[in-house]
């Protein structure tokens, strides 16, 4: 196995003038601004956990885990051609509920965020905890939107086939 590169070698490789100039030219050619990352700032959830940054830091893991869980739930519901539309709207509703959670949801979020054992891996594996939270976070109107999105996708498919 090749020996790992040293820090000094990395700095020389990445910050020597020739290499850096080429990268800056590539940056110019991209002709776009440079940014990365999502943010929770400016949302109610930030205010709720502002005094406890470690909990807020776990929000990303929790959100990714919830996204995966709801995808798996919908996949098991045999939605056919409506599945992707249902997942898209489910993720969008979930994000908005996480950004502006009800006071009830904030309480449950705090409990789940404090359970250290859930955050040992990249994503949370406790499906029951995630599903309990989904039931509180998503409102009846959200599920109705998810169903409507799936229904529209089925309708579009039928109309497209008929007119083909």
């Amino acid at each position: 196995m090749e020996e790992s590169i040293t820090v000094e070698e990395a700095i020389e490789l990445l910050f020597n003038r020739e290499s850096l100039q080429a990268a800056i030219i590539a940056e110019d050619e991209a002709n776009c601004h440079v940014s990365a990352g999502l943010d929770w700032s400016g949302h109610k959830i930030v205010a709720a956990f502002l005094n406890n940054p470690p909990l807020l830091g776990r929000m990303t893991i929790l959100r990714l885990s919830l996204n995966r869980e709801i995808r798996q739930m919908l996949q098991n519901w045999n939605l056919g051609i409506g599945l992707e539309a249902a997942i898209n709207i489910a993720h969008a509703r979930l994000l908005s509920r996480l950004q502006l959670p009800s006071s009830t949801a904030i309480g449950l979020l705090e409990i789940i965020l404090m359970r250290d054992e859930l955050y040992k891996q990249e994503l949370i594996g406790d499906q029951q905890a995630l599903r309990d939270l989904l039931r509180v976070l998503l409102l009846d109107s959200d599920w109705d939107d998810i169903a409507t999105a799936a229904g529209h996708a089925v309708r579009s498919q039928v109309m497209e086939k008929v007119s083909a």
Binding site: E2, S4, I5, T6, V7, E9, A10, I11, L13, L14, F15, R17, L20, Q21, A23, I24, A26, E27, D28, E29, A30, N31, C32, H33, V34, S35, A36, G37, L38, D39, S41, G42, V46, L50, P53, P54, L56, G57, I61, R63, L64, N67, R68, R71, I87, H91, L95, E122
Partner: protein, 182 residues
């Protein structure tokens, strides 16, 4: 920590000296007092990024690190990285440095200023993330989710494009493989 780097003056194309340093209160002050007005005016994606909050998080959590690029007496860019929790999308189980936030000052952005003041801010910060990855034993692996307007930049920096990440608002996930000797 203070790493000397080189930027390019956008007007006369001459190199100028800059420094990557640990994120501190004076950088946050620059963001609040100087950057924000321009970001609000242009409705840039990152106008609500709260660097004061990020600084607090960084100070309270070892896994987070924040860096600023200083040049000509001002803050030219910010970066926040996470160093413990994220894994490679290429090789399961390999840790990497994850770039949570990266932003250059509004006057260095082409979509805001036809002639940016300094070029190379994002490039330098991204390269520093690779140096930290080497320092941490991750061999230069770096991952990030790109905002929609920045995809071309990461492609041009030869990061591998793993496509939209459905669990992360469909932002495009990019990753640098281990750094190799020439």
């Amino acid at each position: 920590m203070r790493l000397k780097v080189e930027l390019i003056n956008g007007v006369d194309h001459q190199p100028i000296e800059g420094f990557i340093v640990k994120l501190a209160q004076n950088h946050v002050d620059d963001f609040v007092n100087i950057w924000l007005n321009e970001l609000r005016t242009t409705e840039a994606d990152d106008k609500f990024w709260d660097w004061l909050f990020k600084l607090e998080m960084i100070n309270k959590n070892e896994e987070y690190e924040g860096y600023a690029l200083e040049a000509e007496g001002g803050t030219q860019g910010f970066m926040k990285i996470e160093t413990q929790r994220h894994g490679s999308h290429e090789v399961y189980g390999q840790k990497l440095v994850y770039v949570e936030y990266l932003a250059s000052a509004p006057w260095n952005r082409k979509e805001i200023h036809l002639i940016p003041r300094y070029r190379g801010v994002g490039t330098n910060l991204l390269r520093y993330a690779r140096v930290r990855s080497v320092e941490l034993g991750y061999r230069g692996r770096v991952g990030l989710h790109s905002l929609p307007g920045s995809v071309k930049f990461y492609e041009n920096q030869l990061m591998e494009n793993f496509g939209p990440d459905e669990g992360n608002d469909d932002l495009i996930y990019f990753e640098y493989r281990p750094l190799q000797r020439l």
